[in-house]
């Protein structure tokens, strides 16, 4: 059951501490999961079981799909791995700008 998200929407993992925020999302229904379970708006009352291979998420990193059609910011790290429509999304390489303030 996919949902249409908008930039700024925060999704919490139901199996670990991971929380992500949508920065850029296509206007189409998306299935977002973490640790093998669907992510939800708002933290769950208690955590469920993680499944599949999980490498974890890192706070402050941006995650994007292979075509860079969407971007999420990890606002809280955890042990689960994020997948969209079943495909794992990866850390986007940071473009380093000089400090301007």
């Amino acid at each position: 059951m996919g949902q249409i998200y908008k930039p700024g929407t925060k999704l919490s993992s139901t199996v670990c501490k991971t929380q992500i925020m949508a920065l850029r999302v296509p206007a189409e229904e998306l299935d977002v999961s973490c640790g093998g379970a669907p992510m939800q708006v708002g933290d769950p009352a208690e955590l469920g079981e993680m499944s599949g291979d999980n490498a974890g998420t890192l706070v402050g990193k941006r995650y994007t799909d292979a075509d860079e059609t969407m971007e999420f910011l990890c606002t809280r790290g955890g042990e689960g791995t994020i997948a969209i429509e079943g495909y794992v999304i990866d850390i986007k390489a940071a473009k380093k700008l000089p400090s301007s303030d």
Partner: protein, 483 residues
Amino acid sequence: MNIHLLLQMASEAMGHREAILCGDKRMSFEELGEAAKSVAAKVQPGEKVAYLAEGHPAFPAALFGAALAGTPFVSLNYRLSREQLDAQIARVTPAQFITDTDVTGEGMTVSLPETVMQGEPLLGEAPDEDGAVAVELFTSGTTGEPKSAVLRHSNLMAYIFGTVEFMSAEEDEAALLTVPPYHIAGIAAVLSSTYAGRRMVMLPSFTAEGWVALAQKENVTNAFLVPTMLQRIVDAADGSLDLPSLRNIAYGGGKMPRATIEAAMALLPHVNFTNAYGLTETSATICMLGPDAHREAFASDDPAIRRRLSSAGIPIPSIELQVRNEDGDVCGAEETGLVYVRGDQVSGEYKGLGSQLDSDGWFLTKDRGFVDVDGYLFIDGRADDVIVRGGENISPGEIEDVLRSHAAVKDVAAIAVADTEWGEAVGVAIVCPSSVDDAELCELVRANLRSSRVPSVIKRMDELPYNETGKLLRRVIRDSFAQ
């Protein structure tokens, strides 16, 4: 989105890091997070958070605290006259005022910077309301009545996400904050430093000696300066500056004289200089001239490369920029026109006036300038400052640059003066301690530019009027010519 997230992430992921040093007060990011919650708890429904004080730990606490409470943060200039201040207070109230000055008025609840950070915290998440306003800042009003620029959470977050990586600062990094809280660069510095995890060392009242001493004592690595501050540091250095920890200086907020940046680069060869060009209405920086471009220009004998030390640089990746002529067509390289920008961080909105963006999202900065063949932007000045002599547009900047090249000229401003024949003509206010006669100055302009650029009036001044963040007050000069 809500800018409070930046502090929340910092306090969760690096809460032990030192966030602030101000005088003898120190605070970690975790403690700053708690202070923001205490500020938020004091905000009554319908109140904004208004900050009217120098740099103090309560400034970042109030900026994030207002966001947590879901209300705009407004920063007022504590150097304004009482009359100007009263006018701005009336535009801000009802508000929770954080101030140590003795002002009272209708709709003001007053807290001291010291005490506002103490007491019961506000519990719960920051609200996430579409299009909510994070910051309202009065523009400097160098050309007229100050306007209240509206910056939404989404604008400021787009700026941070476009320019800063989370926790990218090393543990030993420290930024020296000298720009006042009512300046967009002061707001941007708090947001960037928090997200990067960089310690903020506050210097509430700037002197060159005080800045150097604090930079040495606290092993400061990063600093932002307006051009007048950098000039004072160069002047006070007297040929040598011992700042081995310093790595990065960013500057902006006004036109940097070429001589100042060249002197600073010669004094501090190990430091990376970045010119950050931006406006309040664009949530700070939109173009950057980075350290490599500085060094390349500084080392070059090619005038086209060398002059890039006066360039605002190239747009940051998240910003589009166009220079357009009076017909609205995009200018070619070297052709001067008006600077337009577009991007998520661009608000282009004023209170009571609404959005100034066009239907395609472009914002007219009202700065005039051009780009060179490689896309480097050169800012000429404000469009409002252009002198229109007999239908011909004359940029004050080109006249000023020529006159400044004279060894005896310390400072100069070209402005429009009323002229019965031409409508407007060129007036020049000049600071020139040794005696140089008018004819010599006029000849210098005639030889380098056209005769239409030659000043019709030259007025000697002891110094030119600047505001406290180094912006030349052309309006004051124009008024003095009119008298």
